[in-house]
């Protein structure tokens, strides 16, 4: 009997040697005359254990990791095909506590299935949401999503159902669904994991969105550095087409929907929804003013739903199990789960999908295991390069959009980047300004000129020139950018800059007591 072995083809595992591990396994199995079936699954999201391989045993899947090709012969020797002990053995995968305590709704299949196998997808509850949606009126689909409490996972946390409703009610001959897969935030990877590990769920989510608002064409605007995701998405689109899940007659319903992948322009700002639309239209990635909202006048001037990958990939389970099911997770106005991405100076980096309400401290220590360096964690940046720095004193804040906002912080796309006590927060503030200066689209004045001046002012502060005056100037500039910028790139850069200054004034050479934000 053939044994199933799972070796991830997720790019994080590949970058750690998963490909040669897979080859070594095939070689060893042939040499030893073992019959195996090699499945290239997605990643389980336990990055410190990658390449994490699994063997299907009578007692379920058993994990080993991190495995290098040199370990393979030893694994065979140890009888890993039977789930036997080995120095790299991790026990039954589902029992690994990092995974066990998670609440994987959106990522339910990631790491478990063969990403490009439609059969596998169907066998794991795939396309159940679409089947339900096909029996529902568009407004009912929208209502289900509204009831779920799902808010945009791309950063702005806008209620997805309300956005869809606007598009549903905008009269037009052509509407579009655009998936924002530009995932530009440093330290984030949840979009990539879905697209590499379970592309069908995204395609299903987009198809449901199309049915809900009356759009027949979808575009996935994919970050250009994601070649594996590109490959898997295209394979999944082709398979879905083949099986009638996409095309002019979805599951025989007479409804049409198609999806096409468009590669991004490689600029951070192209992740901003209106710049993204410009980019798909073949123009420079320049931010448009709003209103009109993309929901009214979006791609090619037509009503357009634009949602993040995670937002759309959360839709199938909502339509499968009902809005109420999803809504049961979470706290306050933050409903459902958030795939949190632990990165930076952390012992156990990876993906943690949890209901809202978990605290940063639980994430950093119970999951992350503290800093990788072993030194005390001093600050974390939550929500990507435009997110605020959160000091240790706020680590007990629950993950909740409103609770974070009350601390002048954001959750954004759920990226958490960890710094230990060697970090120089003035440098981090300068870096944030520089990031804005590099990535600015250049349309609006506060960001175009302000970010460059911000770097210069930070330099003066770091060089101890005219400190009080320059600190004041930095604050004033922050206010101008915050209130005046056209989009959140310029508008949120003050978050990391001023949070660093407010929480860590000593790094700026100013007295803690003299600084009230």
């Amino acid at each position: 009997m053939s044994t199933k072995i799972y070796v991830p083809c997720d790019s994080s595992a590949l970058s750690l040697g998963a490909e040669s591990v897979a080859q070594a396994i095939v070689r060893e199995a042939a040499a030893r005359n073992f019959e195996i079936t090699l499945v290239r699954n997605g990643s389980r999201g336990l990055y410190w254990l990658e390449p994490l391989i699994e063997v299907e045993t009578a007692n379920g899947r058993v994990a080993y990791g991190p495995v290098q090709s040199g370990d393979v012969a030893g694994l065979f020797d140890a009888g890993f095909l039977g789930g036997q002990q080995h120095a790299l053995a991790l026990g039954p995968t589902e029992e690994i506590s990092y995974l066990k305590k998670q609440e994987r709704l959106t990522n339910a299949r990631v790491g478990i299935t063969d990403p490009v196998s439609l059969d596998d997808y169907l066998a794991h509850d795939g396309y159940k949401g679409l089947k339900n949606a096909l029996t529902m009126a568009p407004a009912a689909i929208v209502k289900e999503v509204t009831d779920s409490g799902l808010r945009g996972r791309g950063g702005a946390a806008f209620p997805t159902g309300i956005k869809w409703n606007t598009v549903l009610n905008a009269p037009a001959e052509q509407k579009y669904i655009v998936c924002n897969a530009d995932e530009g935030d440093s330290g984030t990877f949840s979009d990539r994991m879905i697209m590499e590990g379970d592309p069908f769920v995204l395609i299903e989510g987009m198809t449901i969105a199309g049915l809900a608002v009356g759009a027949t064409q979808g575009y996935i605007y994919l970050r250009v550095e994601y070649p594996h995701a590109h490959k898997n998405l295209n394979a999944a689109i082709a398979a879905a087409h083949q099986a009638g899940y996409l095309g002019s007659n979805i599951c025989g319903s007479g409804k049409a929907f198609d999806v096409e992948v468009r590669l991004g322009a490689g600029a951070y700002v192209c992740g901003e929804e209106t710049a993204l639309l410009e980019s798909i239209e073949g123009k420079r990635g320049m931010v448009r003013f709003k209103p009109p909202l993309p929901a009214i006048k979006g791609l090619f001037g037509q009503p357009t739903v634009i949602n993040n990958v995670i937002s759309l990939a959360s839709v199938p389970i909502i339509l499968d199990k009902g809005g109420a099911h999803y809504r049961d997770y979470g706290m306050g106005r933050s409903r459902g789960t958030l795939p949190i991405q632990l990165a930076g100076n952390i012992k156990r980096p990876g993906l943690v999908e949890k209901a809202f309400g978990i605290t940063l401290r639980e994430l950093l220590y119970d999951y992350g295991g503290g800093s990788a360096s072993g030194r005390p964690i001093r600050a974390v940046q939550v929500g990507g390069p435009l997110g605020a720095f959160v000091p240790e004193s706020q680590f007990d804040t629950p993950l909740d959009y409103e609770a974070f906002a009350a601390n002048w912080a954001v959750l954004g796309h759920g990226g958490v980047v960890v710094f230990d006590d060697t970090v120089d927060m003035a440098r981090m503030a300068r870096y944030a300004m520089e990031f804005c200066a590099i990535e600015s689209c250049g349309k609006c004045t506060p960001c175009r000129i302000g970010s460059t001046r911000g770097v210069e002012v930070m330099d003066k502060i770091i060089q101890n020139q005219d400190k009080a005056r320059n600190i004041q100037l930095l604050r004033d500039l922050g206010d101008t950018m915050l209130a005046g910028s056209l989009c959140a790139l310029g508008g949120m850069t003050p978050y990391p800059v001023l949070s660093a200054l407010n929480h860590f004034p000593e790094d700026f050479g100013v007295d803690k007591t003299s600084e009230a934000a």
């Binding site: 600029a267 420079r284 003013f289 709003k290 209103p291 200066a437 590099i438 990535e439 600015s440 689209c441 250049g442 349309k443 609006c444 004045t445 506060p446 960001c447 175009r448 000129i449 302000g450 970010s451 460059t452 001046r453 210069e456 002012v457 005056r469 100037l473 004033d476 500039l477 206010d479 101008t480 209130a483 005046g484 910028s485 056209l486």
Partner: protein
């Protein structure tokens, strides 16, 4: 007189009919739905600070100076991009807003030279104004940081300079180039702080796609894009609204003046033909008015082989009058005549024809419209009942399908071309009928749905084939035809066009247009909604010019495309006042208002007014005058503002005719080609030096206002008046407007026109009278001017001008953007930087066959004559067809054109000449003679100056 600064509402007006009431700073205001908060505020005098917004462009939202606070809304929305909403409560001034604005301004100025006092924009700079408005007092960033102050200036364009060190990257120029002009020459390059305006791919302006329309300069709020004339002379002290004297678009301009000197010409935002847009000619090429070549003293001579003699006005006028009297005494009343000008004002054209009819006592008056749009006058009068286009220019914004036949609007009528392109970018369909791949066929964001690339001279076959498809495929709007047209003529026409030999399949061999393409185009025109036809000299300047015009009118009637906005039959008139000169009775058979001289009732009206007896017989047309001159019966010509020696076909024939005359009086700005054959030279006045009116291609009568005194002392009508008085017919007008009053009394379609009305309304479109006191934008609304529309048969008769083994190619002619017709004006400006010579365009295949490379000298020989030009090898041509412009006299384009002409109106067949093209090494014999003759005449002129 003061310098008028236009009020800028920040964003364009909303066309919505629904209105919305809101509150701004505690004041209630009601505006159309869709209006921006900024514009709403401005409409009640609250001017919100702004830099990137201007009401000629769509809002952009980049400068962030215009932020406001809205009760109940988060953040600080930009007032330029935020539409009003009912019940909205807006605050435009709060401490927080003041902080933001000062903060933004501080950033701007941290990357701006502190040059105000020596800056060309000083006193007229929005950046400077805004710094004052927001109360910027300090730039705390200092000036050592990263900046653009060392950016290099680009002075490559002759008329404006680009100084990137002063650029605030507001993108107004970029948007003007896209939205207003439609050229897309000015992108932004780089990102973030490194964003810069960069013509083309890092090119200099002159090397880029830029057509120097000036829209970007107009839009720039700083000194970055600035007229060189302002850099040289400083800001103007007063301004006067007048009308451009170049093409038939008739743009309205503000002449910005310092004393009697024009500092710059600024397109007038309120101009109804141009809405603040312009082209390189009207905007910049006015320098000819003060060019040293201007002749400002009257001159006479007995023979054209003698030097000129400068004389007093009296002497010159008396000499001319005595010569005309002598000739008439000796050779009869009909031995003299005159030509009115399509460059001069209506009043001046009117006066010249009046002089002919009243003082000469004959009808020998004609005008250059003879050689361009006379078939339009005939064809449209016969079918629709009025010799003019049916629409306003703005009408095109309501068209769904636009047909362009034998016209090249982006070069010939650039401002209208831009409007048309805007509509096409909005989604209107486009059909181009032209032997050449004109720019409209494919340019930035514009592409023709069908290009019917026909062989020159086959217009009638093509237009009739279009009709064939419309009739035989049942696409006629029968209800419209039944209600509005003559049933009888329609029935005959229907049978006629349905004949098999008019089918696209049958005409394909002649026209070269594939039948399927033609069918598809016909269907599109007939069924796509509002269909509008625009045509130009490519239609009229043929032996069957009038027939094609008729065929076009037939198409419009059959498809119901007349009598509302978005449709119509629209001649694109060549010269500024060609419509006007025709309206004013410049043709030998028509009194002002297109009324035939044989009509006794009409005659008696004029006879009463003028106190003379008028001839009932039409006089001589231009070609007849030449023929009569050569047979000795026509001896004297008064030629005002026209250069027949260059512009009329068969140059050698024209020159011979002129030489055969005894008294040629030329009234012009320069010693033009005709003046080289003249005996009396009367200095003319440019449009800047006189007051009157021009009528453009949409029948719009616009005021021309004197901004400087005439260089030679008199406006042109004053000279005509003096000549008339000397001839013994008294004229006593005190001003141009007084002449207009007389025209208004005598011409029914002008009854309501007066200069006072033009002062009030800006301009009016005739008919303007009791039943239409504010003019008539769209004609033929409820019924055709002639009552029922009349269909006429259009049998295709191939031109006699055929290719043969000796003359295997067809030459066709046209013009380009930067030069204007005979070029007398534009050649005396820096527009030569774009086009310094006429060239022969030839298809690579034809060139290769003849061993011709790009830039080679080639001889072009027709049955008529030969000339030499340099070749441009171009895919825009079709094999077998060559093309040239005709802006330079030495090119001798008309040495080769033939004396074939339109059967109805004698309009010359400029567009079809059979030629052979061969590589040569020297200029043609005609050109050598021309050069010798020119040198001789210039020395005659020089002697006058010396004497």
């Amino acid at each position: 007189m003061s310098l008028q600064r236009d009020k800028d509402y920040g964003t364009p007006a909303s066309p919505a009919e629904q209105s919305v009431t809101l509150e701004i700073d505690g004041f209630e205001v009601t505006v159309p739905e869709g209006t921006s908060v900024m514009r709403a505020a401005s409409s009640i005098g609250i001017e919100i600070p702004k830099l990137c917004a201007t009401d000629s462009l769509e809002p952009f939202g980049s400068c962030r100076l215009c932020l406001v606070q809205v009760e109940g809304a988060r953040g600080y929305p930009a007032s330029c991009t935020t539409p009003v909403a009912a019940g909205m409560k807006v605050k435009t001034q709060t401490d927080k807003l003041a902080d933001i604005r000062r903060g933004v301004m501080e950033l701007y100025i941290s990357d701006h030279p502190l040059d105000c006092l020596t800056c060309s924009a000083n006193g007229n700079c929005e950046l400077q104004d805004m710094a004052g408005t927001v109360g910027l007092r300090e730039v705390r960033y200092g000036y050592e940081g990263k900046n653009h102050l060392k950016s290099e200036k680009d002075g490559s364009n002759p008329y404006f300079s680009f100084d990137p060190s002063k650029c605030i990257v507001c993108s107004r120029c970029v948007r003007a180039c896209e939205e207003t002009q439609g050229t897309f020459a000015l992108p932004i390059d780089g990102r973030g702080f490194d964003s810069v305006i960069s013509p083309g791919q890092h090119q200099a302006f002159m090397d880029s796609e830029c057509v120097s329309c000036g829209a970007c300069v107009q839009a720039c709020p700083t000194a970055t894009l600035m007229e060189k004339s302002v850099i040289d002379k400083g800001q103007a002290d007063h301004s006067i609204i007048t009308t451009c004297a170049y093409c038939g678009v008739g743009c309205s301009f503000k002449a910005e003046m310092k004393g009697a000197e024009v500092v710059r010409m600024v397109p007038d935002k309120d101009g109804k033909a141009n809405h603040g847009h312009s082209c390189v000619k009207g905007r910049f090429a006015f320098g000819y008015a003060t060019h040293p070549d201007r002749i400002t003293s009257p001159m006479i001579r007995k023979s054209i082989h003698e030097p000129w003699q400068k004389v007093s006005w009296d002497e010159a006028i008396n000499y001319a009058a005595s010569e005309f009297k002598r000739i008439q005494a000796k050779h009869g009343r009909h031995s003299v005549g005159a030509l009115t000008s399509s460059r001069c004002t209506n009043e001046e054209a009117y006066l010249v024809q009046k002089l002919v009819r009243a003082a000469f006592g004959n009808n020998n008056v004609d005008t250059c419209a003879r050689v361009c749009h006379s078939p339009t006058g005939y064809g449209l009068k016969q079918t629709l009942g009025e010799s003019a286009g049916t629409q306003t220019f703005d009408s095109v914004m309501k068209s769904d399908v636009i047909v362009v036949i034998g016209a090249n609007p982006t070069d010939g009528h650039p401002v209208f071309g831009s409007l048309m392109k805007k509509r096409i970018r909005q989604g209107a369909k486009l059909i181009v009928v032209d032997p050449r791949e004109i720019d409209l066929v494919k340019s930035a964001h514009v592409q023709a749905d069908y290009h019917l690339k026909l062989k020159p001279g086959t217009n009638v076959a093509l237009v009739t084939a279009l009709a064939h498809v419309i009739v035989t495929e049942g696409l006629v709007r029968e209800d419209f035809v039944a209600e509005r047209c003559e049933v009888d003529s329609y029935r005959k026409w229907k049978e006629f066009v349905a004949l098999p030999h008019h089918s696209p399949e049958a005409t394909e061999a002649a026209t070269g247009v594939p039948a399927e393409t033609l069918r598809a185009a016909a269907r599109l025109y007939a069924t796509a909604g509002n269909g509008a036809i625009y045509y130009g000299l490519g239609v009229t300047e043929h032996s069957q010019g009038s027939t094609t015009v008729i065929g076009i009118a037939n198409l419009a009637m059959a498809t119901g495309n007349v009598g509302r906005e978005g449709v119509g039959v629209n001649p694109l008139r060549g010269q500024n006042n060609v419509q006007g000169s025709c309206d004013m009775g410049s043709f030998p058979h028509e009194l002002p208002g297109y009324r035939h001289v044989s009509d006794a009732l009409v005659r008696s009206e004029f006879e009463d007014a003028w106190g003379v007896t008028l001839e009932a017989e039409p006089g001589l047309r231009i070609p007849n005058m030449f023929a009569a001159a050569l047979d000795g019966s026509f001896k004297g010509l008064y030629c005002e503002g026209e250069d027949i020696a260059q512009s009329d076909p068969d140059t050698q024939h024209v020159h011979a005719a002129l030489q055969a005359m005894e008294c040629v009086v030329v009234q012009d700005l320069f010693l033009n080609e005709t003046a080289k054959f003249a005996h009396v030279f009367l200095p003319g006045a440019s449009f800047l030096e006189k007051t009157g009116t021009f009528t453009n291609a949409e029948r719009r009568i616009s005021p021309v206002r004197r901004v400087m005194p005439p260089l030679a002392g008199y406006e042109d009508w004053e000279v005509t008046q003096m000549l008339s008085n000397a001839l013994g017919y008294p004229m006593n007008y005190g001003s141009g407007p007084e002449i207009l009053d007389e025209i208004a009394r005598l011409v029914p379609t002008f009854h309501g026109v007066s200069f006072k009305k033009l002062d009030e309304l800006g301009s009016v479109q005739w008919p303007c009278n009791e039943s239409a006191p504010e003019g008539t934008p769209t004609m033929h609304i409820d019924q055709f001017v002639r009552g029922k529309g009349r269909f006429m048969l259009t049998e295709y008769v191939p031109t006699q001008e055929r290719t043969s083994s000796r003359f295997p190619l067809i030459l066709t002619t046209g013009r380009i953007l930067s030069q204007y017709n005979v070029g007398a004006q534009t050649r005396r400006t820096q527009n030569n930087a774009w086009h310094a010579e006429d060239r022969l365009e030839i298809h690579p295949h034809d060139a290769e066959q003849r061993g011709i490379k790009d830039g080679d000298w080639v001889g072009i020989k027709s049955r008529q004559g030969e000339t030499v030009l340099r070749a441009t090898v171009s895919e825009r041509m079709q094999p077998g067809v060559v093309y040239t412009t005709f802006h330079f006299p030495e090119s001798g384009a008309n040495v080769i054109t033939t004396d074939n002409s339109d059967w109805a109106t004698n309009c010359p067949e400029y567009k079809v000449t059979a030629v052979q093209v061969t590589p040569v090494s020297q200029t043609s014999e005609w050109q050598q003679q021309f050069q010798a003759f020119t040198e001789q005449q210039l020395s005659h002129l020089e002697k006058a100056s010396a004497g």
